[in-house]
Amino acid sequence: MNNVLVIEDDLMFCKLVSNYLNKNGHQASQATDGASAKEQLQRAEFDVALVDYRLPDTNGVDLVRWIKENAKVTKVIVMSRMLDDQLRQEAQSLGVTTFLNKPFNPSELLELLK
């Protein structure tokens, strides 16, 4: 079981992923922007942060940098529809090893959480 923070501005996405994870033995929380994600990460410990690259108030790389410096998260997964090499390298330089290309089936996410 992982405590997962889903960080994505699409509320429906948050709901669908959270429902799916909760039904499959994980515990999901939701944040729809960077500020709310930081607040939750300061308040509670998460095993996994699922970070959308494009957020209304920050980009994924800046948020990952903040997470690495300020939060205890075992695994960060960056997801995007535009996972180009530059973005991948930037995230990798911050220690991110797991990426998820959109669109994806929620079962793919489950595999990454094993």
Binding site: D10, L11, M12, K15, L16, N19, M79, R81, K102, P103
Partner: protein
Amino acid sequence: MKLSISKGVHLVEPGDFEPADHWYPRALNSNLHPLVSYFLNLNNHQLVERYVRLNPHVQSKALEKVINYTPKYFKWAGTDLMHVVNSKGQKKLVVIETNSCPSGQKSMPLPEFDPESGGYYKLMNDTFKPIVDAHEETGALALIYDKNPMENVGYASAIADVFGEPVYLAEYKASDAESVKFQDGKLHIQDEKGEWVPIRAAFRYVTQHPWDRIPEKSKTLLLNPIEACLAGGRNKSAAYKAYADFNQEFKQDGLEIYVPKTFLDVSLSELASYYDQLEGSMVIKVPDSNAGQGVYTVTSQSEFDKAYQALSANPDDKYLIQELIFSNANEKFENAFYHIGTLPDTKNRSFAFDARMMVHATDKGMRPLAIYSRKSKYPLNQPLPEGLDSWEVYGTNLSVKNTDGWSYDDVRLILFDIKNFGILGLGLDELIEGFVQSCMAVYTIDQQAKKMFD
């Protein structure tokens, strides 16, 4: 399911329906009250016979015409009704509004264990599929929405199952949405390759000023189309005009849509004179508002001033004013209607409530689809504490507008299940009355849509 096909769009596939995601847990784990189940199983012939027996002045042919009507535009509706009485003991179910994107499935106990016996599948099987199959446009299927994710994923999943094909589930909150557009009157949704997919039919749950972004005479079949909203499904003034037309047309047949006394097209500067005329008690409504927003109950000068100030931001707008349905019998307004309210609880508190009757058009005529109630926050029969707004006594809507979207104050929800239905004090004949009132409202709004758009 495929998540994030494009910005705000997901692809729902056959087999994705998960009952626990589309009903409130307490609705999913409840048992429908047998009386409600009995009501849902009455056929339209039985409903007419019973109604006419109780209302012998009603012409059965006229009532048959109304409840077996096939709407052109308004095929799915939710009518909000209030159970009222006056000092002479005359009871009525009064129509407060008729909604063209009604919520309610998540609050309706299943008639049987099988989720397909519930309203999500019934609406798709009996209303949506027949009209889509008869529609000649080509393209994919979609659901466009701006709120209520719990029900909309349920509807999208039911569509996928009923049609055996994937459904684009697309947020459509603004006309500049990245991934949804109407082009030449046809809905298109962006797929994962950035290409625009034409849509042959879509279930529409767009509630906030949908006419800003959805065209009339859409080539994509919409349930409901925007015409249903403009003719009264999302416009309280247009709806009231339609009710008045109905009452005129069917007066000889003994049929009447019950509505509080209403004044239309009232300007900001005229509000004060209505406040005086109605002796300090009234309801002011912004005609195209919904979800409890833009409705002001006024019972004092300070509440009038507060409402006036809020409405002053749009000085050229016109409002609808209705007589207040009072909290209790009132000597000052001898014949006025007041809320019957819930049965008193052990602390002797009785609350105002409404009943939402969801109906849909089928090959068997209009049929009831779902029903639930919502009660107010503060009881009718206790003095209002100083500083508390009268909305707390009269307002029943559960929608709460937050900075990041909508939430629901679902503790005030009353299910029509074995445990809760009794506290409403409603019987089978009230359910039939509510259904008839709803059908009459749908009939006349659809007639008005035909006059406006055909």
